[in-house]
């Protein structure tokens, strides 16, 4: 069906009109308010908010922590996806269903629960404390919460890609004398690379914006364990709307860049699939 070609189906005007109106009212108007406020703020005031030492320290933790958490998820997400896609073992189905728990569990719950488990007297925290590792109320805690929240993205993008790898190719490579490691590097990794990078980016994006599960375990010390979303909340509590909007604008710009990257990665993945004849 092409544009302008008549169709017998009714409701085009009504549904598109409602969709556009509702989208504008709920999403676009609020976003415009943020963009306009940031744009109308004098440059020096904008720079004060965006480049203050406290803001810079928060970017370092938010972006750096999200990057580290995404790297952890790249490795463990791949191992979990591999385990789920390739092995049969008791409890596999349960494990498969459990992966989505961080999506379904409210972030405030995962926040207080992680803190309870990893506090110095917690179930796991007490053993880590014995070897001198402190998780709760440190940057490590922030990274842990970011890892938890991004994990499903890393697993759920790689898992279907792994199931689609043609095992004939692996068999053929092994028949031709390739070792397991060689097959892994030259057959499996190239086939799932776009999915791995997409999962990495999604996990990074989610960790960057995360608030609820982090603020309980981080301790929220300015310059040390304060994430950028929390700094926005602090500006708002002081009724400094311009400062909050300026920081929000930085985070929003980062989200757009990430969204663009994800779209490009997915296009690249489809393109590769076509060229590899899958």
């Amino acid at each position: 069906m092409r544009e302008g070609q008549p169709t017998v189906l009714p409701g085009f005007g009504l549904t598109l009109g409602f969709t556009t109106f509702f989208l504008s009212a709920v999403v676009l108007l609020p976003l415009a308010a943020l963009a306009l406020l940031a744009a109308s703020t004098p440059l020096h005031q904008l720079l004060d908010a965006v480049a203050s030492p406290r803001a810079l320290a928060s970017y370092q933790l938010s972006f750096g922590g999200a990057l580290l958490a995404a790297c952890i998820n790249l490795v463990f997400g791949f191992i979990i996806a591999w385990t789920l896609a390739r092995y049969e073992f008791p409890g596999r189905k349960l494990m498969d269903a459990m992966i989505d728990l961080p999506f379904a569990l409210p972030t405030a719950v995962s926040g207080i629960a992680l803190t309870a488990v990893f506090a110095n007297n917690g179930w796991l925290g007490r053993y880590l404390d014995m070897v001198g590792i402190h998780v709760a109320y440190t940057r490590l805690g922030v990274i842990l919460a970011m890892t938890l929240i991004g994990m499903p993205f890393a697993v759920r993008t790689v898992q279907p890609a792994l199931l689609e790898v043609q095992r004939d190719l692996e068999d053929a490579a092994e028949t031709l004398g390739a070792g397991r490691w060689y097959v892994f590097r030259r057959v499996i990794v190239p086939a799932v690379l776009p999915a791995m990078l997409t999962g990495f980016t999604l996990a990074f994006a989610r960790a960057l914006g995360e608030y609820g599960s982090i603020i309980f375990i981080s301790g929220n010390l300015p310059m040390k364990t304060e994430i950028t979303p929390l700094l926005i909340v602090i500006h708002l509590e002081e009724f400094d709307y311009r400062g909050a909007a300026a920081l929000g604008f930085v985070m929003l710009a980062a989200s757009f860049v990430i969204l663009l990257t994800i779209n490009l990665l997915q296009a690249w993945g489809r393109d590769r699939m076509v060229r590899r004849g899958q």
């Binding site: 069906m1 544009e3 169709t7 017998v8 189906l9 009714p10 409701g11 085009f12 549904t15 598109l16 969709t19 556009t20 989208l23 709920v26 999403v27 609020p30 308010a33 943020l34 406020l37 463990f76 979990i80 591999w82 385990t83 896609a85 092995y87 049969e88 073992f89 409890g91 494990m95 269903a97 989505d100 961080p102 999506f103 972030t107 405030a108 719950v109 207080i112 629960a113 992680l114 488990v117 842990l144 938890l148 043609q166 068999d171 914006g209 995360e210 608030y211 609820g212 309980f216 909340v233 708002l236 009724f239 709307y241 909050a244 909007a245 929000g248 929003l252 989200s255 757009f256 969204l259």
Partner: protein, 290 residues
């Protein structure tokens, strides 16, 4: 692909792939399964277990008493009310958006899909911030609202709006690809044979998309009841009035009332488990995400 019907790693599958089960392979498999189980146990199972262990540590009576607190009851009511308003609104929106996008061709369609998905990519705190900038005391409409005695931010309408924003894409993003794939033939046949628009929708389209719709509604509801960041920014944290369940958890936790905090958390954990179970059931009924 593997032999038809054979589970990966199962005996039948190994029989079709002779020579694979070496000692090294078995060792590798065991250690990878071990790493996966360990990682998930520390990150998922332990936190879920600690919620219930802490909630019940002073016995069942104390656990129940936590729900006798009027502020906690008010929070539970507000969370249910919010979901009751937000989920139907976003369901109607999702159906309308999917109908327009899947059934018709028009310019700007891919832009529209991107914009619908946008709230998922935005930090919850920023979602809340947007509504404070619009309706807050020093926001765009702040002076006008104050003059007319209407409060949105630090009141229930703000909580509803922020929740509406963060759960906005959930139903639409399930339905759009599903309806695009199912095509228009049956609807066109129904209309041609004289069925009305609503009859076509209820008798032809709705039965086809019911599992996808249910899937979207389940996810939308879970997010609506559990949202913390966005709601936290607009709520003002007035106990008994503008605290939802996740915000009540924070308030109790900051008061060192851990039994109370984890008791409320245990309800939300049960909601999450119920969400996952329902999700699996819908998937078992044959629904596959696209």
């Amino acid at each position: 692909m593997t032999a038809a019907g054979a589970q990966p790693g199962s005996l039948e599958e190994l029989a079709t792939r002779p020579g694979r089960e070496t000692l090294l392979a078995a060792l590798g498999r065991r250690s990878l399964i071990g790493i996966s189980v360990g990682f998930l146990a520390a990150l998922l199972l332990a936190p879920v277990a600690v919620v219930f262990a802490t909630a019940f540590r002073n016995g069942f009576q104390v656990y129940l008493q936590a729900f006798a607190d009027p502020d906690t009851q008010a929070a539970i009511r507000l969370t249910l009310l919010t979901a009751l308003v937000v989920v139907p609104v976003n369901t109607v929106f999702g159906l309308a958006a999917a109908w327009a996008i899947a059934k018709f061709e028009f310019r700007g369609k891919s832009l529209l899909i991107t914009l619908i998905d946008l709230p998922i990519a935005i930090s919850p705190v920023i979602s809340g911030l947007l509504f404070v900038l619009l309706f807050g005391m020093r926001g765009w409409f702040g002076a006008w609202l104050a003059a007319n005695g209407i409060s949105i931010v630090f009141a229930i309408p703000g909580i509803m709006l922020a929740t509406l924003f963060v759960t906005f894409p959930y139903v639409a993003r399930e339905l759009i690809p599903l309806m695009q794939q199912l095509g228009n033939d049956e609807e066109e046949a129904a209309i041609t044979l004289g069925a009305g628009a609503w009859m076509t929708f209820f008798r032809v389209t709705l039965p086809k998309i019911r599992w996808g719709l249910l899937y979207g509604v389940i996810l939308c509801n879970a997010r609506a009841m559990g949202e913390f960041g966005a709601v936290s920014v607009v709520s003002g944290h007035i106990r008994g009035l503008t605290n939802t369940m996740p915000l009540a958890i924070e308030a109790l936790y900051n008061d060192y009332d851990f039994t109370g905090a984890f008791a409320v958390a245990s309800l939300l954990t049960l909601l999450a488990v119920a969400t996952l179970v329902l999700k699996s059931l819908v998937e078992r009924a044959g629904y596959r995400r696209r």
